[in-house]
């Protein structure tokens, strides 16, 4: 366990960013999101949740797959280069890290998504324990401990100090590189801080959310419930929940005609959008109710079906905070609980 005074963090950031790109929560235009560090950046480690999840560091909202030229029936294809440089993600929360592990199950399963994998391989992730969880958090419901560290390096902010310790080889490397900035720290400080956090967590209203009615093999039980017909009604069919969600990973593949060439890119898509399943061969989810159901069934039933009971939700609570219609997964879970 090492520590550094908070006022020396800037030095640390400067040092890391000299060697590799550094991504951390940055405030810009009244909004806090993960962004690339530079001297002018307004770093906001104090903020619990970034507006968007850090998933776009690994699965960007939009990325080029290849560009293509075609003329007179001949085609040439220029694939997009993969991420080749190492980078550091600093201050990721545990729920978001857990979400990354969920994304891994999708993108790193065969056939591997090489674009995603290249970024994963090149990233060193420093997680930061949540000092002040919020009412919309429910990570505990998924067995995530926001006081405990995860990723390559675990970190805590306790009083005037920033503490960290390495969990993986990559983490060790990062700590070694920056060792000259740090001093040794007492493990006990961290333990008491963890206990404090866990106390707060116990008081948070949604942390005790019960998921016993969900998971593997619940398709038949949940799918035809009349509750869906009620629940979806306020849904605006926007994609806010899916875009702020750290685990949503649906995407679309599109062409952009850029003069002589065609750029093929993939971009986030949302199962909430009316045209998500609209394909040349037809559309199998024509109503918003079906699309709404799909999102929650996928997170709470289908995904666990295929992944040993792991839910595709980590309780980060962004959808609770951000849904324009104040709808969210918690309301869905609770509505079914009430019914049961």
């Amino acid at each position: 366990m090492k520590k550094i005074n908070l006022n020396k963090l800037k030095e640390l950031f400067a040092y890391i960013s000299e060697k590799s790109s550094l991504f951390l929560p940055i405030e810009s235009a009244n909004s806090i999101n993960f962004g690339m560090y530079d001297e002018k950046a307004k770093v906001r480690l104090d903020v619990l949740k970034t507006s968007k999840s850090p998933k776009d560091l690994f699965f960007p909202q939009s990325e080029t797959l290849y560009s293509c030229q075609s003329a007179k029936g001949k085609i040439s294809i220029e694939p997009q280069a993969l991420q080749n440089d190492e980078f550091v993600v600093f201050g990721m929360k545990n729920c978001d890290f857990a979400a990354l592990e969920i994304l891994d199950k999708v993108f790193l399963s065969e056939p591997v998504d090489t674009f995603y994998k290249a970024r994963r391989d090149n990233a060193t992730i420093v997680t930061l324990a949540c000092a002040r969880p919020s009412e919309s958090c429910f990570c505990k419901a998924y067995g995530i401990d926001c006081a405990q560290g995860a990723g390559d390096v675990s970190a805590w902010i306790i009083g005037e100090y920033f503490y960290w310790c390495a969990n993986t080889q990559k983490g060790v490397a990062l700590l070694e590189k920056t060792a000259h900035l740090f001093e040794d720290a007492d493990e006990a400080d961290v333990e008491s801080a963890k206990a404090q956090i866990r106390d707060i967590v116990a008081k948070m209203p949604l942390m005790s959310l019960d998921l016993k009615n969900w998971g593997k093999g619940k398709t038949a039980e949940k799918f035809d419930s009349p509750l869906w017909d009620e629940l979806y009604k306020p849904c605006l069919a926007c994609g806010t929940c899916t875009f702020v969600c750290p685990t949503c990973q649906c995407y679309d593949i599109k062409d952009y005609k850029a003069g002589e060439k065609v750029v093929r890119y993939r971009c986030w898509d949302s199962c909430m959008y009316s045209d998500f399943t609209m394909m040349a061969h037809g559309n199998n989810r024509t109503s918003q109710m079906q699309r709404f159901r799909q999102r929650f069934m996928h997170k709470l039933v289908y995904f666990p079906d295929n992944n040993d009971g792991v839910f595709s939700c980590t309780g980060c609570g962004r959808c609770v905070d951000k849904c324009p219609a104040s709808l969210n997964i918690v309301k869905v879970i609770k509505a079914f609980d009430k019914e049961a």
Partner: protein
């Protein structure tokens, strides 16, 4: 995927001198969809068109791009050529590389590059063209002539003589118009009534002509070949079918204070009146503002004296709806209001009159029975001053910028007639220029000066001052001598400008015909299509299009008639297929498009649709393609993009933009 053939025209050296046509053709070969490209001396020639036909056959082409002169020049030619070759005519696009390229650029490299881009844009568009089929609409074989002056009468007669039905709608109680108010006509000095009256009678007697006098156009809908017009027949209070035209009612009518419109307000008329003796129809009308019976309920003298029982105080305005294939506007002119010219004392002295008023004074049926008298005291004038260009050829906003065209000649006529009849009267004419371009016009003017001793003064009148003794002092400048002139006159005649009849503005809106800043109706082309309005099926006759004299009016009337006859002779018309259409799955039914449609072509229907499996009844916009003229206003107003325009679709224009910016 289209199979496009590109043809680059040399236009002799017009294009080929500045544009490397071979390079343009070569460059097009690497464009998407292009399977054939060639250049040729004159694409519009017969052999050029043959080349197209051959290429279509050989290469199985589905679309054509012609790089040539402006589409305004030869688009129709190439569309016809395409059709002959078996391709839909709307699969042809023109890249304008002459007017918009070779003729304005000198640098060969630059011009060639631009030609390539223009051709590329045309290719990009054709790739998205789809065959369009022009619709057919039947032609209603009847014409409407709005205005019953000499223009309207002549047009109606010519159309009717060709065997088509014609309706004349005339606002006043009789046809005849301004010409009926004239005394003599220049340059032959024949009596206006003598030549006009027979035509009026012909009109009335013609079995193909229906005259609606005392009537106005209330509403126009429809389109070329199929106009529907509501005509308001104002209540006449006299049953035209019964009236024998004996005139007794007018004699007996006790209300005689109304000013006679026909005599320019220089005499009175009764409340029940026919405007003039030769009126057609010879059926009086009751002026409801003057009639004692209609105003107070008492009197009823006319009803009592009418042996034919034709008086009917209960008559109401009546709307008659008729259908027409063509409409001719012949609304004529008015003399301008002289309020802006009070320096000429028109409002202050009864002896300052307009030329039209002089016509009435000179006329045997006029207020003075044809004697030249001052309107103030009935004395014979000894010195008369004519002032030219009152309100015409104005540089400022006070009057009209244009030349009224007829004043020079009628003033010469007036001067001559006065000097002929009253040799002791001195006649002076203040003029800016004397314009006499017409057959026997200059000879006529010279006779006035040389034979009749009319005193022409080149110069302007600054002011006319009424003197206490009843005379008028005319203050002017003689521009040749450069001196101030002061003439004492006992009558001043103003050659007031003429302007289109005030009703034309509203009428133009109803007809969606355009008017210029002076309210003259616009021609479809100022030189080549002078009697057609830009709105198909609407034609122009007489002064409503621009100032002209009687012979010009009559010839234009005949020309308009010829155009109408040409139209009515067809059994059906092909409609422009470049019309708007609404995608029923995208339409919100919000009415925005209908709000901007200038033709009322969009209506709404509750329709059941199947939107990817969702069946529901929706309010959906429907375009009447017969009414739609293809302006595209609706397409931009429509937020969802449901409205699109054939031939200029969103995607086509975007493809052109892309091709240009590439």
């Amino acid at each position: 995927m289209q199979r496009i053939g590109v043809f680059v025209c040399h236009c002799g050296s017009n294009i080929a001198a500045t544009v490397d046509v071979k390079r343009v053709a070569l460059a097009m070969l690497s464009e998407n969809g292009v399977v054939f490209a060639d250049d040729y001396q004159y694409m519009c020639s017969e052999s050029g068109q043959l080349k197209i036909a051959q290429a279509v056959k050989e290469h199985n082409l589905t679309g054509l791009v012609i790089c040539s002169c402006s589409p305004r020049m030869h688009e129709a030619t190439f569309r016809k050529a395409a059709e002959k070759a078996g391709i839909n005519p709307y699969m042809v696009e023109i890249a304008n590389i002459r007017e918009q390229c070779s003729w304005i650029h000198k640098d060969i490299e630059q011009a060639t590059q631009k030609a390539i881009i223009l051709a590329r844009a045309a290719v990009a568009k054709v790739n998205l063209n789809s065959p369009l089929i022009a619709g057919k609409s039947p032609v209603k074989k009847r014409a409407l002539v709005i205005g019953g002056g000499i223009a309207g009468i002549q047009t109606a007669l010519d159309i009717a003589d060709a065997g088509f039905e014609v309706d004349i709608v005339e606002k006043t109680p009789s046809i005849g118009g301004k010409m009926s108010q004239l005394d003599k006509t220049f340059p032959t000095l024949d009596c206006s009534a003598c030549i006009l009256t027979p035509k009026m009678v012909d009109c009335a007697a013609h079995e193909k002509i229906t005259i609606f006098t005392y009537s106005e156009v209330e509403n126009v809908s429809g389109f070329v070949g199929n106009f529907t017009v509501d005509i308001k027949k104002k209540a006449r209070y006299v049953d035209s079918a019964k009236c024998t035209g004996c005139g007794l009612c007018q004699e007996k009518c006790p209300s005689k204070k109304a000013l006679s419109e026909f005599n320019c307000g220089l005499s009175n008329r009764s409340a029940i009146y026919t405007p003039f003796a030769q009126a057609v129809p010879n059926v009086p009308v009751i002026d409801p503002l003057q009639c004692i019976k209609l105003k107070t309920g008492k009197c009823g003298l006319c009803e009592k004296v009418c042996a034919a029982n034709a008086i009917d105080y209960t008559q109401k305005d009546e709307i008659i709806t008729r259908e027409y294939g063509a409409i001719v506007v012949a609304t004529g002119f008015d003399v301008i209001n002289l309020d802006n010219y009070d320096e000429y004392a028109y409002s202050q002295s009864k002896d300052v009159i307009t030329s039209l008023e002089l016509e009435r004074i000179m006329n045997a049926a006029g207020p003075t029975k044809g004697h030249l008298e001052r309107m103030s005291d009935g004395k014979a004038p000894k010195n008369i001053v004519f002032v030219q260009c009152v309100g015409s050829r104005c540089a400022d906003n006070k009057g009209k910028s244009y030349c009224s065209k007829i004043c020079c000649m009628y003033t010469a006529k007036h001067a001559m007639l006065i000097r002929d009849k009253y040799p002791d009267v001195n006649v002076s004419v203040f003029y800016i220029d004397v314009r006499t371009p017409g057959k026997n016009f200059d000879e006529f003017y010279r006779r006035a000066v040389e034979e009749y001793g009319v005193n022409y003064i080149k110069g302007q009148v600054g002011k006319v001052t009424p003197e206490p003794d009843g005379s008028l002092t005319v203050h002017g400048v003689d521009l040749i001598d450069g001196r101030q002139v002061k003439i004492s006159a006992d009558m001043v005649v103003l050659a007031a400008a003429i302007e289109p009849n005030a009703s034309v503005r509203q009428l133009a809106t109803q007809l969606t015909a355009s008017i210029d800043t002076n309210n003259f109706l616009t021609e479809a082309h100022p030189k080549l299509r002078p009697v057609e309005s830009p709105t198909a099926g609407v034609f122009l006759s007489g002064v409503c299009q621009g100032p002209k004299d009687i012979p010009e009016t009559v010839s234009q009337a005949g020309a308009a008639a010829a155009k109408v006859i040409g139209l009515l002779a067809k059994n059906e018309l092909t409609t422009n297929p470049c019309t708007a259409h609404s995608d029923e799955l995208l339409c919100n039914g919000c009415s925005a498009c209908a709000n901007v449609c200038p033709y009322g072509a969009i209506s709404y229907q509750d329709k059941e649709v199947n939107d990817h499996g969702i069946r529901e009844t929706r309010r959906i916009a429907m375009v009447n393609t017969a009414l739609c003229q293809g302006c595209g206003a609706c397409t931009v107003t429509c937020p969802s993009g449901a409205m699109d325009l054939n031939g200029f679709s969103n995607k086509q224009i975007i493809a052109e933009v892309d091709a240009i910016c590439r």
